[in-house]
Symmetry: C2
Subunit: 459 residues, 2 copies
Amino acid sequence: MSSTHLGIPKGTRDFGPNIMAKRQYIFQSIQGVFKKFGFQPLETPSMENLSVLTGKYGDEGDQLLYKIVDSGDFLKKANTADFEAGYKKLLPAIATKGLRYDLTVPFARYVAMHRHEISFPFKRYQMQPVWRADRPQKGRYREFYQCDADVVGTSSLLCEAEIISMINQVFSVLGLVDYSINLNHRQLLVGISEAIGAPGMQTELAVSLDKLNKIGPEKVLQELESKGFKSHQLTALEPLLQWQGTWEQLRDPLSEFLKDSASGQKGIDDIEVILQHVKAMGHTDPKVIVNVSLARGLAYYTGAIFEVVDNKVSIGSICGGGRYDDLTGVFGLPDVSGVGISFGVDRIYDVMEQLNLFPDEDLSFSKVLLVALDDQSEHHALGVLSNLRKNGIASEIYPDRSKLKKPLSYANKKRVPVVVLIGQDEISSGKLTVKHMAEGTQEQLTEQELVGLLTKENG
Amino acid sequence: MSSTHLGIPKGTRDFGPNIMAKRQYIFQSIQGVFKKFGFQPLETPSMENLSVLTGKYGDEGDQLLYKIVDSGDFLKKANTADFEAGYKKLLPAIATKGLRYDLTVPFARYVAMHRHEISFPFKRYQMQPVWRADRPQKGRYREFYQCDADVVGTSSLLCEAEIISMINQVFSVLGLVDYSINLNHRQLLVGISEAIGAPGMQTELAVSLDKLNKIGPEKVLQELESKGFKSHQLTALEPLLQWQGTWEQLRDPLSEFLKDSASGQKGIDDIEVILQHVKAMGHTDPKVIVNVSLARGLAYYTGAIFEVVDNKVSIGSICGGGRYDDLTGVFGLPDVSGVGISFGVDRIYDVMEQLNLFPDEDLSFSKVLLVALDDQSEHHALGVLSNLRKNGIASEIYPDRSKLKKPLSYANKKRVPVVVLIGQDEISSGKLTVKHMAEGTQEQLTEQELVGLLTKENG
């Protein structure tokens, strides 16, 4: 049939074995840290009712939701007038389910639904794909994984400290060393609005500040002006756009700047406590930069906010999160405070690829390929194969009889480090012919010696 | 807001922490065996173009595909006549993508698309959810995981033997002991059609035989009669419906029954070779039952077919697969023979739950919960916490200050086996108060003794 069948939808990807090996390495590393910090796994359905998803991500987000056509006669609730009125009018009649847009809203829905079974504080992690009908572009996909960890049901600042500790451990396990954890606090932004004489304008302020890295300080100030900020307010704000540094550097000037704002003082106190906790956890260099222009787009944050960037690879945020006070309120469960973090696997992958951080030994598949040289030797080879696997060694036998070139090329392409030839000579001598692919060397080993060699390499 | 927001779509499920722990145990066990056999991971997008999916699963399957509404103005290609003509006519104009129905078709699409990069034989495994707009009922879901392993690009019967070996290893790792691997061969069904005087009728025969366990032999024969099988043909067939047994029991009567059928002989020879290979792999009891009435529904099988049932829990097939000769032909790549197996995680879960096979130690999360008894002790506790984690011990600190009842109840519900109390007394004596939750005992240990105790329990 025609090759038109062979594409995949725009913005989606196949992950072949070599990419998968690297992705699994990232997922397992993150999951290992989540577990060590006492987070428990959760999975929610790919589809949610549109009533759960709609209205949670702003108008733009609603546009980007993937909607699923109702099963069977999806037009049974629609009439010609709906159709004539256009797609926005018809949609609710033909689609009641959508694919999840993130893991946060399904998590909030889960917590509200299962509030009576959950023992709070609830620490959950979730690693699942999400879907957004975004315009595909470099580094932006329509299906991608999120790796989230959240604690809900406590307002303790220990949680923020644990998240900073967790970020450090994840990137340490992955071998990233030169990154910064940008830290800010929504109450500092409230305080700054007050201090510059624009109380209550923190949301407008945050939305514009969020673009600082993309469009630069001048355009941020222009945008704020167009939102109604007065020129003396912008003059007061301008120096703060450069305020990034260690807490030791920023604490005093911030305290001075925000001395008349209770909210600002709350932000300062929280950051102080969080960083003391981090220190008590033994982190001598937690790579935290306090950055008062860090805003993060999402409306639901109310306390500390985090964003991690790699200092060598310019790719934007590779991890981000923050404290929220009312995530589940919209689902009928008010006043549940929590704090969460999300690791951006696709970007972390790109950073690690650029910095060559994937360890070779974790990316190989089988440790050994057996090649039977004739039919009579095949059954002997199968015994060796079972013995290797019994010893926990990932092993294969080349299934077809062919010239040696083919299995050797197969081993090369699949990065199998050892090829073992088994023929009549090997069976009668009791010594297998062992080829080391990388070195191009060959030796004769007994079956037991082979197992010893490969378990040593494994360990 | 209203509680109507709180549901999830029919036929889908949330997997909370306790269920997830068990599911992860199953997935990891299967994945471990797949890797040991040299299978490599693959992931394909959740969405495929409907041109890839449609027409691969029969008319009924096409009905069960979830279709995704095209982004933006999905009506721009539709006109009122399409709408008036009904949903079947309108659908292609408004939806061009669907959710995958299984992992086999996306795999075939992947192989055809990437034929020039893949080194054959290609051994891949894939563990991802699939979606079917089926009527929800007990044990049948609209979103569920499949765990597939396939080898393509070789017709060697070693692959069938490896699959039987792999099935045995997976169930051995999971602790299942009393199961049967039903084995049949499509060419035996061809031969049986010929031997009963109904050559070419093997598909009709297979479709009816597939229902044998559900509707019994009488109704199978009635159904075959209605399909045009003659009474002398049914009389010849009837005794075979009972033919199940070891290969030693069935080989001779089958050879006799099929002595005039070349296809039948091919089936017999294949099974003979497969089981010899399995024996050579050291399986003294591979639990294989040859069952000539095993049919399996899917049209694409051409050789050996497998289906595993648990002998204690009646839940149907928990694993199945077979040899196919032309899976990728429809995507423009003919003559690629392969053999695959699929593990049914949901049913395996149910069987293991009923037989109480989940090992307790793999289902707990944190090994220890620290409780600081006052603010002054908190920073000391954070140091202990970091030290425990540094030693690879999954550990938590209770984040809120409260009466001891709350953290103890939290530990109980989350099955944390050890709770450690840290207050002024503990800090000054250098001995932590360690509570063993299951035993209800308490002892005083130094930090080092605590680490020793918990790493010992871990190992």
